[in-house]
Point group: C2
Chain length 211, copies 2
Amino acid sequence: MTEAKKQIRVVLIEDDETIREGFTYLINGEPNYAVVNAYSSVEDAMPHLQADKPDVILLDIELPGMKGTDAIPKIKTLVPKTFILMLTVYENEEAVFVALTKGASGYLTKNSSTEKIIDAIQEVVDGGAPMSTNVAKIVIKSFHKNQNSPLTKRETEILEQVANGKSRSKIAKEMFIDLETVKSHIKNIYVKLNVHSREDAIKEAKNNKYI
Amino acid sequence: MTEAKKQIRVVLIEDDETIREGFTYLINGEPNYAVVNAYSSVEDAMPHLQADKPDVILLDIELPGMKGTDAIPKIKTLVPKTFILMLTVYENEEAVFVALTKGASGYLTKNSSTEKIIDAIQEVVDGGAPMSTNVAKIVIKSFHKNQNSPLTKRETEILEQVANGKSRSKIAKEMFIDLETVKSHIKNIYVKLNVHSREDAIKEAKNNKYI
DNA sequence: AGCCAAATCCCCCTTTTTGAGGGATTATTT
DNA sequence: AAATAATCCCTCAAAAAGGGGGATTTGGCT
């Protein structure tokens, strides 16, 4: 079976003309990669995306008009099979998570080399998830729990169950302890976290990554 | 200012003798990197870690005796400044997240090239978070929401608040709608998700990544 | 051996919340 | 015209939450 190498169709959405033209030139210089169109805003791009049929969209996160992150769901609706690779200058922690939850497949900084960009494009097409090192750092850090939690092991376990929406009686049953024990733990948790409600306990614990 | 290149001290904890010796040989072959000790289990390693003073520990996740993930917090207690790099053969989604939440700084597959391993060691020492491509994929996928949620936008917003531990009355206040409206939405959510409690709604929604 | 923190369990009490059963009205979109 | 989404209304009983006061037992560390 001879396998014809498929051309990978790329669309750029980036307001900076220099970057836009630079990337277009660089990507078009690669065999098997073609920039089918480059737009300076999401609004400009939207009406053409279905005709462009891109495999990958390189999307700037800081755009005039509609923001890059807001554009993701709209783009996904128009062309659901297209992978979205975010491009950014500043690594904003919040923006990274918003973009990822909304469906971006990867996250690159604009200073990446052509080689890295091309690699990343290939990687998303192959179902991967390219990230620049700084973004990886932000993501992994978000997983790390605070090692200086004031809560004991048991208290942490219980608060995690509470955060999963479980009632105290359910927690008691599942942990094979008495309801009164659960109540005691929760009382102690509230004192330690200086809160007076489930909501605030969860909020406080999540903010400080105790859970 | 002349900067003396600091030797990077590496400890290996890996039960497979071939891999252990291979990695030791390879890492010692690099200038500025030294394997100060290599152990076949966490139990063996624990008593020596404080003397070894490693900058980085390469930790196998599938170990006899104490599991790699359980070892992380213990190691962190002994030598808090040491970075932990997980090594794995199989990418188990659950294990990845457990390791990361417990404090691992990176996650590599054992088939990685020497170059990648060395790069990763340097990267964690520099405060980075190296991940093999497959692990990155798992992590990013975990952020993606299901695009086929049966819930409406408003219902999703409300269920997110519920999952944050908020009471219905609090949600009503914060969203500037009546308590009765919140109750209606939650009733509809329960019907759509085919559940009869907050706990099950949250569980179902999280399992399917509706929230 | 002695201490302390952690985990367990036992009462009291009031207020709030939840879940379930019925609805209705108004926009918006198809 | 017909769904769909979002809003609001009423009743009801059972469950849960939060706060107050305790006690006992266990495990780990000095």
